[in-house]
């Protein structure tokens, strides 16, 4: 099939293009690609990795406008990239900020951009409200991707909402490259093309419809495309009654050469999707040579069957429970749900951490007191190793998780849920480990919606209990009397401990490492409540949060604790959705249980205005944020050198994007951002940074595109002044009747970050369902090294 490049295609490419970031200085991430960023649609993010073999896991942390807290999701590492999705509910205009947390194999935790979010501003993605239907022309039929019977082909366009300057009768309709306008019926605001009126036989395969829309002066205003598949009636009929499936297979072999060390990687990725009436089956396997017993699993496999009222999956899944309890965590096991309208039940069970055995480094006798005080010295099997203690490289216990959530629903109006999460380390899973832990979380959530969901009230609360060392197991009542109370080292009434034992002993070990003993002080409570109002073009949301300093859920590794306060955000739509004004304020405080020597107040003011004036005029976004952090410790007293806080940060950013035709179609995007942090404490940790980027994509014809741009970044701080710039230029070529797709990009960087990068990718479609892809990346760091990645990917679909 001939691949045509039309405006929506350009538009989608532009979005992709505009959001490709030629990485900020990083020795882990080489490039970020964001496929689309449109309101209420999931945002897919791909982070290309320099050396995937050194990475244990990658998380993406993101927050919407006006929020201070980042939500985190684990990304899936496949081949030489990490893939993640920001869920649709977070894709809220005007923008979303994100950074990546990269856990290295050696235990080091890095971020991208480097130092984010505290020292370096996170990356920002502008969320567009716009769709491709700006001209108001609607394609009524066929639906995108629809399978249409050969004798029922009907293309219908509606111009009822078309802009005034659009001239309906000038519209041109194409089937592939074939102009079929003369066979279409123009009826007032409708254009109808019926397959019956077309004298030629239309092939039964995937087809592309192209519509060219003109103004009354004959200028091309827009081009729309829609793909569908033409099939025989009998095929369509058979499909409805039989098991339908498709299989995608991908194999990759790749050589990475870093610092003169050459490594081969191989992986296969197989995906299966099938359905029989309402029953759907989804299975995938990703197997890689990177699977090693000394790191967490890199292979992924899952199988899922689902209908409208139940689903069951086996293998790796990322179950979604209330955000405070379990979210974005990979669980290897089972995940199941039953949805009966008024009642739903969700349950998940599996492993969230695989055991990794440690190693014995040195043994010690019982009288080696100085050695025994060190944190990596543990008790070992004397009969096996000759000594009772050993210095070890600590391993990781296998950790399992069970979560159950029954919920009660009444349509969109009401939802009430109860959640139990139990998780713990398997003490016997490794020999050289220390302090296996257990965790129990009990939670509830409520959602109410009124007036066609214009009013939304949400609440969520969870209380956690944790045992930070279960190696000794549960204490007997006699042991409790010895350890606790006036006679023991821990001054807690033994009866209270026994009470806890009778209640929680069924779920977890109760000993001196259990806590909290005083849950009524809310140290292990996490709760939030929000009110959303959507009236008069205002979308207001006010939220209160409370996170005790002891709150822990093994299903939610990155929740910010010891903080309470509120935020309020208003997103205002004006001038027929051409102007979006966003305002937000947040005030949070820590030290809830007075465990610190001072209470810090965090205040944020956020504002942004986005203007979409319409065709021919650039879109603008301007934003300003102010962050103030302070506590009441004296900033002049050196006693509080490290604990006194008094700083303020101003951040401005602006983005201009413009799609225009100057001889040929171009897409341009300009982004400016600057921030300055004034630290009034004795540390004087002042920082400032400025970044600028400009991208231009030009479509010379259907077969040749170019993209070019420049990025400049500078930051100043007492510790590390930094400045660099990157220019890049790339071409895209379609050759051999569109079977060969070539792209090449060069991007040298100058300044404190010196690097020359070359990317070459060739995709060749051998036959419709079989293609080959060759990828070559070269990264030269002057006077240091020349690194390369060469990979061959084969794809086959059935």
């Amino acid at each position: 099939m001939i691949k045509e490049r039309s405006f929506p295609w350009y538009f989608s490419l532009f979005i992709t293009f505009a959001l490709i970031t030629f990485a900020q200085p990083s020795d882990v991430i080489s490039r970020i690609e964001i496929k689309q960023a449109i309101s209420n649609q999931p945002i897919e993010i791909r982070a290309d990795l320099f050396n995937a073999s050194e990475i244990n896991s990658v998380f993406i942390a993101f927050k919407t406008f006006g929020e201070t807290e980042f939500t985190r999701r684990e990304m899936e590492i496949r081949s030489s990239a990490a893939f993640g999705v920001i869920p649709a509910e977070f894709a809220v205009p005007p923008s979303i900020e994100y950074y990546l947390l990269i856990s290295m194999l050696d235990g080091e935790l890095r971020t991208y951009p480097f130092g984010s979010p505290d020292q370096t501003p996170p990356e920002r993605i502008s969320i567009s409200e716009r769709t491709e239907f700006d001209d108001g022309v609607l394609i009524l039929t066929p639906s995108p991707g629809e399978k249409v019977a050969q004798d029922e082909l009907l293309i219908t366009l509606s111009f009822i909402n078309a802009k005034d300057d659009i001239h309906i009768k000038s519209t041109k309709l194409f089937l592939g490259f074939e102009d079929i306008t003369e066979y279409a019926l123009f009826a007032e605001d409708l254009i109808i093309f019926s397959g019956f009126n077309y004298p030629e036989k239309i092939s039964m395969r995937e087809q592309l419809i192209k519509i060219e829309i003109y103004d009354s002066l004959g200028n091309l205003k827009n081009t729309k495309t829609r793909s569908y598949t033409l099939v025989s009636s009998s095929y369509l009929l058979a499909m409805e009654d039989q098991f339908n499936y498709n299989i995608d297979l991908k194999g990759e072999t790749r050589n990475e050469n870093f610092n003169d060390e050459s490594t081969w990687y191989n992986n296969i990725d197989a995906r299966f999707k099938g359905n029989y009436n309402d029953l759907k089956v989804d299975a995938k396997i990703y197997a890689t040579s990177e699977e090693k017993n000394y790191r967490q699993p890199q292979n992924r496999y899952s199988a899922k069957i689902s209908t409208d009222w139940f689903d069951l999956s086996f293998g790796d899944s990322y179950p979604t429970y209330p955000e405070l309890i379990l979210s974005g965590k990979r669980v290897r096991g089972f995940d199941a749900g039953i949805y009966l309208g008024f009642f739903s039940l969700q349950a998940s069970y599996g492993e969230i951490t695989r055991e990794i055995e440690g190693s014995l480094l040195q043994t010690y006798p019982v009288d080696s007191t100085s050695a025994l005080l060190q944190s990596d010295v543990i008790e070992i099997d004397q009969s096996k190793y000759g000594q009772p203690f050993g210095r070890v490289a600590l391993g990781e216990y296998s950790r399992n998780l069970l979560a159950i959530r029954p919920s009660f629903n009444a349509g969109e109006t009401f939802q009430f849920g109860l959640t139990l999460l139990k998780s713990g380390d398997d003490k016997s899973s490794i020999e050289f480990g220390k302090k296996p832990k257990e965790n129990l979380v009990l939670g509830t959530d409520l959602r109410l919606r009124f007036d066609n969901s214009r009013i939304e009230i949400k609440g969520e609360a969870a209380m956690s209990f944790q045992n930070s060392d279960i190696s000794t197991g549960t204490l007997s009542d006699a042991q409790i009397d010895t350890v606790f109370g006036g006679n023991g080292p821990i001054d807690i009434d033994p009866d209270i401990v026994k009470n806890f034992k009778s209640i929680f002993g069924k779920f977890m070990d109760i000993n001196q490492f259990f806590g909290p003993w005083n849950p009524e002080e809310l140290s292990s409570l996490a709760a939030e409540a929000s009110l959303g109002l959507n009236y008069f073009n205002n979308n207001i949301r006010a939220k209160y949060i409370y996170r005790g300093n002891d709150y822990t859920s093994f299903g939610q590794s990155f929740l910010r604790t010891d903080v309470a306060g509120f935020n309020i955000v208003d997103r205002i739509r004006m001038l027929n959705n051409k102007v979006f004004l966003s305002l937000g304020y947040e005030r949070l405080q820590d030290n809830l249980q007075e465990t610190k020597n001072a209470t810090t107040t965090f205040q944020t003011i956020n504002s942004s205005i986005s203007i979409y004036p319409g065709e021919g005029i650039p879109n603008f976004t301007l934003g300003f944020a102010r962050y103030d952090n302070s506590n009441d410790l004296s900033i002049t007293d050196s006693t509080y050198l490290f604990s006194a806080i008094d700083d303020g940060t101003n951040k401005f950013y602006a983005q201009i994007s413009h799609n225009f035709i100057w001889e040929i179609p171009h897409k341009a995007n300009l982004y400016l951002s600057t921030s300055k942090r004034d630290d009034n404490s004795l540390r004087q940790n002042n920082t400032s940074n400025f970044s600028f980027s400009f991208n231009l994509r030009s479509e010379w014809n259907n077969y040749f595109t170019t993209h070019s741009g420049v990025t400049y970044y500078t930051s100043e701080s007492a510790a590390l002044p930094y400045e660099y710039s990157t220019v890049y230029f790339g071409v895209g070529l379609l050759l051999l009747e569109n079977k060969l797709d070539l792209t090449a990009t060069v991007s040298p960087s100058f300044g404190d970050f010196e690097r020359q990068a070359l990317d070459l990718v060739a995709n060749y479609k051998v036959i419709d369902n079989f293609s080959l892809s060759l990828q070559l990346r070269l990264y030269r760091i002057p006077d240091v090294s020349t690194n390369s990645i060469i990979g061959l990917i084969t794809r086959y679909s059935l």
């Binding site: 108001g136 609607l138 009524l140 039929t141 029922e152 009907l154 219908t156 509606s158 009822i160 909402n161 078309a162 019926l185 009826a187 007032e188 605001d189 409708l190 109808i192 019926s194 019956f196 009636s233 009929l237 409805e240 409208d308 009966l340 309208g341 009444a410 349509g411 969109e412 109006t413 007036d451 066609n452």
Partner: protein, 221 residues
């Protein structure tokens, strides 16, 4: 001289004024679907792609289905043994629509109407819709039932007490012949009916006669 120039202009104007407003297109036809243009008395077989104008009627036979897409991409499914009349009036770029259901069952998926209006009328009630999913049923006695799957529908009785109310997602409303309006939570029975309503599965039988002639019988499953 001037009046001779004016005559053709008036003729064109009158023709324009007389031409009915196009409201939608029939995008799927299964089994027996008949169509009657507003200016005619006779029913004829509807064809795929037929433009439906203001005042046109559509009726379906047993095991039949007609799918009508409005110009704003809203959709109605006229299920078997139903009769509907489609009305539409255009003001600037706005299209106000009204579907009169004489009898039968009609599913709807109405896009966000903005400033436009989308109404359903039955012998006993009228419903105003802004962007929602659900179905109507008008049995032979002329009473009216509506189930709302998503969104909200304002409903008003046309007879008796002329009661009115709003029907939210997951609820059904009934207006009986006395005009009494009842709004209640819908059970799984209505959910199931709604799901069945959305299905367009067709059974086809290929019949071969002794003389070698073949024809295909198609009906709604």
């Amino acid at each position: 001289m001037n009046k001779y120039l004016l005559l053709p202009a008036l003729l064109v104007f009158n023709l324009y004024a007389l031409s009915p407003t196009s409201v939608g297109v029939l995008t799927k036809i299964i089994q027996t679907v008949e169509y009657k243009a507003v200016e005619t008395e006779n029913w004829g077989n509807a064809k795929l792609g037929s433009v439906v104008y203001d005042g046109d009627e559509v009726r379906t036979g047993s095991r039949s289905l007609a799918l009508l897409k409005f110009l704003d991409n809203s959709l109605i499914r006229v299920r078997e043994n139903s009769i509907v009349t489609i009305y539409g009036s255009k003001e600037d770029n706005k299209l106000n629509k009204n579907t009169f259901i004489e009898r039968g069952r009609v599913g709807f998926e109405i896009t966000d109407q903005g400033d436009d209006e989308f109404k359903f009328t039955t012998p006993t009630g009228v419903a105003s819709i802004r962007g929602t999913k659900g179905f109507f049923e008008v049995p032979l006695d002329g009473s009216m039932l509506i189930f709302v799957k998503e969104g909200i529908v304002d409903i008003e009785s046309l007879i008796g007490t002329k009661a009115s109310g709003s029907v939210g997602a997951g609820k059904f409303a009934k207006i009986d012949l006395s005009g009494e309006l009842v709004i209640e939570d819908a059970g799984s029975e209505y959910e199931n009916q709604f799901q069945a309503m959305e299905k367009e599965t067709v059974k086809k039988i290929r019949i071969k006669l002794n003389n070698g002639e073949e024809f295909l019988l198609e009906y709604l499953d």
